[in-house]
Symmetry: C2
Subunit: 402 residues, 2 copies
Amino acid sequence: MSSRLRGNLIVGQSGGATAVINASLVGAFEGALEEERFDGIYGMRYGIEGFLKEDLIDLRRQPAEVWPRLLHTPSAALGSCRYKLQADDLERAIAIFRRYNIRYLLYIGGNDSADTAHRLAQAAEHIGYDLYAIGVPKTIDNDLPFTDHCPGYGSAARFIAMATMDSAMNTIAIPSHYPVKVIETMGRDAGWLAAASALGKRNEVDPPHIILMPEYRFNPERYLERVEAVYRDIGYAIVVVSEAVLDEHGQPLGAIGQVGRDAFQHPLLSGAAQQLVELVQQHLKLRARFDKPGDLQRMASNCISRTDRDEAYLVGKMGIRALLDGETDKMVTLVRHTVPAYHCTTGLVGLAGIANAQRLMPDDYLDASKTMVTQAFYDYALPLIGDPLPEYARLENIRIER
Amino acid sequence: MSSRLRGNLIVGQSGGATAVINASLVGAFEGALEEERFDGIYGMRYGIEGFLKEDLIDLRRQPAEVWPRLLHTPSAALGSCRYKLQADDLERAIAIFRRYNIRYLLYIGGNDSADTAHRLAQAAEHIGYDLYAIGVPKTIDNDLPFTDHCPGYGSAARFIAMATMDSAMNTIAIPSHYPVKVIETMGRDAGWLAAASALGKRNEVDPPHIILMPEYRFNPERYLERVEAVYRDIGYAIVVVSEAVLDEHGQPLGAIGQVGRDAFQHPLLSGAAQQLVELVQQHLKLRARFDKPGDLQRMASNCISRTDRDEAYLVGKMGIRALLDGETDKMVTLVRHTVPAYHCTTGLVGLAGIANAQRLMPDDYLDASKTMVTQAFYDYALPLIGDPLPEYARLENIRIER
């Protein structure tokens, strides 16, 4: 196929939004603006779901001042969706591409969105419609394979690291009130977000003390033993749990609050932290409470990692570059370099390998207990969260004697 | 009484910590350092509870660099407590004051802490021990009477305003996924924190759409009607609920998760948001989910309001001034001025009137529905949260037609 084709470009955002997904949109738009090959630059409202309803907007005609401001605006400005393409959607989608002479598709999203972009690319090829389709990675879950990490993760990781530091500061000031604190993070199948809670931890006593990740089944006896041991040692315990942790029978720990399944048949959960709190209250007779920052971890604009934002912009811009290079059915990846200092360039990988695949936490990022991260994880994750985390002051225990 | 008395000064922090309570400690320390009348400058570890165990530290001998850093460190660096003085504690406390020649007490806290300081001042007078005791206000709940507002509230209000804006951005991007979002705030008996969720709201469509405050009993029918109406109008609904809202029978909405009572016989709650989510799922058949930022709202160091921090510093420093002026059994208050622009000076009020009293949201800060704030509340609260809230960019709906 040739990439000399003139035509319209469309950009979509899909899946759970992040604090920096708009930076990828801005990168794409600014990249496209420099090129003559695109006539219209369109946006899908609400991803492929809106596209199938021909809900398209004109990005060229947006006020110029919107673009720099979008760099600091969390969430998906185009609107997003969690819609799984049905068989008869594909033909319809290609017909709409044809109707609007759309030849270039940039789709910003996670695993399921890669699946969508891949199937659109395949359908176009099958039907014989010249379409270039590139995926741009995005997910706070950080679970896409082949890319060093995913835009959106750095900011969510920064939020969770700071939330753990901050929330634990309250427990430390008044451990007798609620000696056990549970913080619930997102993370569908992988523990990347829960692991990020340790990024502000500088020694054994610092929080968190126990991290429960979905890669490992939950064992209530071991959990209670560990909480009790930490409590005995330092007077309180900070536990971080991924909302998707499974119990010994493979049931979600929070299934008590289960509220159905989403369009991709992923269970919708609530309640893991609540469960952990109740176990502590019942069996250890300790007061416990939980924080569940929920969507704040994907959205908090004052926890945006500059590195994450810059990389989100980069992958958007490089997605346009790939389209112009005649690439299709591929996703942009981030490629890490450490010399002279941490930075990323980009690569490309086939969408087929991304769709519905997941990268879990590697073994060497967790210690033998499987409830704490290793130095290898710090080396991996600290560069992603941008500016250094604050170091809080402590008073020295210089006692007054009578 | 004379304030020419030489002796030692002790400072304590008490009750739930805030993001700026350490600024009051720094203000007190720096104020005290300038004065010759204080020999030792001591700190209580864990408030009066630690004091009764003679857990005292030397603040003069702390490294100098700790003080500026404490201005940016959330939580109570001295440690805090929620301990209600027992009758026989009073005599013991006075004996300890005497033993360490402590003549000046500055106690930073909320309603219950004012009660503690008041009873210590009274006991000292009764026993004939010369003690000057001043309370310094602190509470994210903003429910102390006689002061325009409470240090700690501005930062928590800023957090809740931003959390509501940010979390709602996710719902707005993908309303079909979870059209109803509930955000649970703290706030024991007063709706000040829940009300702050509206501070980023600029029009009817902006979140939040419904605020449930503890001043008004919860009516499930009215709640469901209102959620349904908002959902019909704009496609989603953002609800903010105070954790302490009571149902029609006077039971906490979240009593389902009730876990006992604290030392002051205040019920410890969890579950209001969970309850509201379940009601929506059951009766409206809409998907709903909740965020419960919990202790983050009192602790988030990246949401500190500069105004709040400056005022927390000021009340600490002015507490020392009051001690030197020979005042006792009083609390420092913030006095608002609006000419030429918003600023605060301080006043004093008797501790007896503060202890165990609460200031609820005034009627004119709520509209007729009692679920939304009025302009009067914006005028009151916006100056307290420091820098203006961000204005997020939105794409204009410039449609592409075939």
